[in-house]
Amino acid sequence: MARAKAEPQQPATGTTLIVLVGLAIAFLLFMAFLNVVKSGNLLNETNLLFATLIFYSGAAALYLGFGVTGTESYVRFASFATWLGLLANTAAVAHRWYEAGHPPFASVYEMLLSFVWTLAVLTLIAEKKYDVKVIGTVTMPVAIVGVVLMQLLRTDVHPLVPALQSTWLHVHVTLAMLAYAACALSFALAAMFLIQDKMKTETFLAVTSASTLAIYAGVVFTRLEKGGGLSLVAWNPEQKSEMFLSRGVRLFVTIPDLGWLLTLTLLVVASPLVFYGLARWKNKDSFLTLANRAVFLSILLQVMTLVMFLVRASDGSYPSLDADGLFPTSLAASPFILSGLVGGVFISLLYMLLLWRRTDLERLLPSADNLDRITYKTICLAFPLLTLMIAAGAYWANQTWGSYWSWDPKETWAAITWLVYALYLHMRITRGWRGRRAAYFAIAGFAVVMFTFFGVTYLLPGLHAYA
């Protein structure tokens, strides 16, 4: 993963360089793949995922090459690689489905599998139908991260507990995935609109820095222990599950000193925001230059933190504050911290891409008007899907719990998401909101979606304990 992540960090000077790096990675992975073939049993899920990873990496490298240099010919190869990866990905999904006997939505691993698949499909659709070629520059690296995360998470086929054995579950979850994917797309389009709408680069600086800062603040404030340790959930490697002290109470282990590193990164991540504030306050552009340097520095530090986290949390046993002895932990025990750290690097890199290549991006992206319209169309797609998703969920809940609506946090937040998009549509249709205001709304809507998807599961208690 470190390799795959490292590419976009290269300053955007060498044009073919990045492509070569991508092809080299693809080649290396392919050689490894040949070894797997020699060992027999080609068509198992691991190998299929491996093939997916190879092709997606190739595609991501080419898309990045396109995003950075604007060379159109890369896109053809990139989408070809995406097609191949999608083929392998589809086979993996089918394999999983066949093996488990239910559509792959039951665990975080299976959700990721479907999510990556959806992402690739959407990329191809956006490219072929709407001519938004640059979208692969963003989505394919995300897909790679997804596939790599999958390797770290449990892969056993899990039987479904009685409440989940319903056709309505599959309907509900499929609709949820589609709706959330459409929301994500509308978010990306709205962000692109803001680029095309000549929103100032430093505004993006402020927003991206604030997002990264929020991630680190979230981790540090909840997990920093006295003495600079970082608490992580203990992991039982035999049972492949989190360890519990008692029913519902997780056992935490403390990795010494990692907390300090995260705190340091938190401070550095905060610095661009401080410089941005100074630039606004003193009205001096020199602070902005400083802020951009600070972003660059923060990327280096974030990558270092990520690597340290990967090294220390993936293996080894650590003491716990609540129990005697050493307990093992694993990356699989902290998927959300891991995705947070990866996401932080990714957000900062996106900003760097914008900073260095803004003019190229503006040339490559569709016009602001088009983006505005496509954003609206995507939400027109997302809204009915959200409605049906909630309805299917309510019907299922009625079959299982005897009540179609019980105001549990996930339900409530799904309703809030629905209301936010309903507001968007009303403002757009009756008040004629276009352009920036609509784009902000689309972005806010997606933030609510993200909270519904991740925040509610991990911050608020409720009936939706399965997802």
Partner: protein, 507 residues
Amino acid sequence: MAVALRALAHKTWRTIASIQTGVVLLILVVILAALGTVVLQRPATEPDEMQNAYSPQVLRILDAVGLTDVFHAWWFLGLMLLVSVCILAASIDRFPNSWRYFSRPYKYPDETFRRALHPQKSVAIADEESGLVAAERALHSLGFKPERVVRQDHFGIFAERHRISELAVYIVHASLLLIFFGTIVDGLWGWRGTLNLNEGETSNLVELRDGATRTLPFALRCDQAGQENYKDGTPKKWWSKLAVVQDGRDALKKEIVVNDPLLFSGVRFYQSSYGLTGNVDKLMLTAAPNNAPSAGSGEKKEIGLALHDTVPLDADTTLRFAEFFPDYAVRDGQVYRKSNQFENPAVHLVVTSKISGNKMVGTKTAATKTAGQDFDVWFPPLDEVADDSKAPYQLQVTDLKMQHFTGLQVSHEPGQWGVWSGVVLLGVGLAFVFYVVHMRFWAVPVCDRKTGKYSLWIGGTANRNRDAFEQNFNDLVASVEEELKMVGGEPGVPARLDGRGARLSTV
């Protein structure tokens, strides 16, 4: 006074029906609902948990304001009601306009309209008739049913599709109101509770959420219940064979599983859990006399016993199932019940012998026994509690059948039909709102006053998805031009009318 009142009423109406009010109310709903997920909620959270989470003062304030049970607080319900009123008012306010639009379609575009419309195009034609015929044919070929509009002093062609789309938003609003109505009915007349039945038990008492008990007009009997497991031990399926008993007869029988409830006269029974009651259903054991050869009735007996049952072992000896501990512990020679979990069970049996030992058995230990003596036998053998070696019978437990209960959720939701029909209607309405486009086309022959040349003005409009509509419009124009070539021939020669067109007698 009356005027002021009427003005006030008018102003109130305008406020309620305005989109701003709607938006403010929806934002309020969002904020309050979000608060309801952040603050721990009352019925779901145990009282002591609440006390752990908040200090007494904070808790008192939260309780007083109703934030610990947001979704049942009067102000939240009031807000939802207000939202409903607002939706209704907005719909009523706007509906007449839309209805006029719907019922009296605008068929002939006047000059101002023609000037402002986009997209529009003018195509040169030889004469009025050939232009109209071409437009008609082109519209036909695109699947429209064109209509000749003939007025006193002018004429043209009008075609449209999916006029219903103009009313779709009212379908959506009506469906939302229907859903709200259903939930209100449920809130007022619905109830939910639980009913736990042991196998073989019949009951008509449902324990409601608030602790009260509701008596059903019929009873429910559980004939059998069970659980199936996956290989790794996690539950795969819970099932119960239920029977509804009414007037002493079985009115309905059904095997229910999770996700497949039983419905009887508006009351639904859901499988929600299955487990051990902690009581023994039957203890299976074998008994053999300690000195089989001399007793005569020496063969092994198989016995099934319920708790507190007594069975005779022979003419003089009885066996009683005295006590059962699902999870036992021994301290100071006493047996305690450690918990009600079925983890470490112990069985206490008492063998009572009525007559003195020498008649009963001829062994050296039994010879000293006197009439009516009890022998305590424990499974597993507990030497520190009782010595069972002197018992006249050798007992062996073969099986311990535990009693199971099936946990049922019971609910009565009379407003459900409103909710589900509302949901279906909502789906239909949204499909119409987003994907059914009301398209209109007009074609009007126009004579240029200066040059005297004819041209055909073609215009069109759609109520949504306008960029896709422009493609449709361009297709139409291309098709008209194509038709003109075929129909018109040389300019100046009147085109023959085909059967579809009516002769313009009023011109």
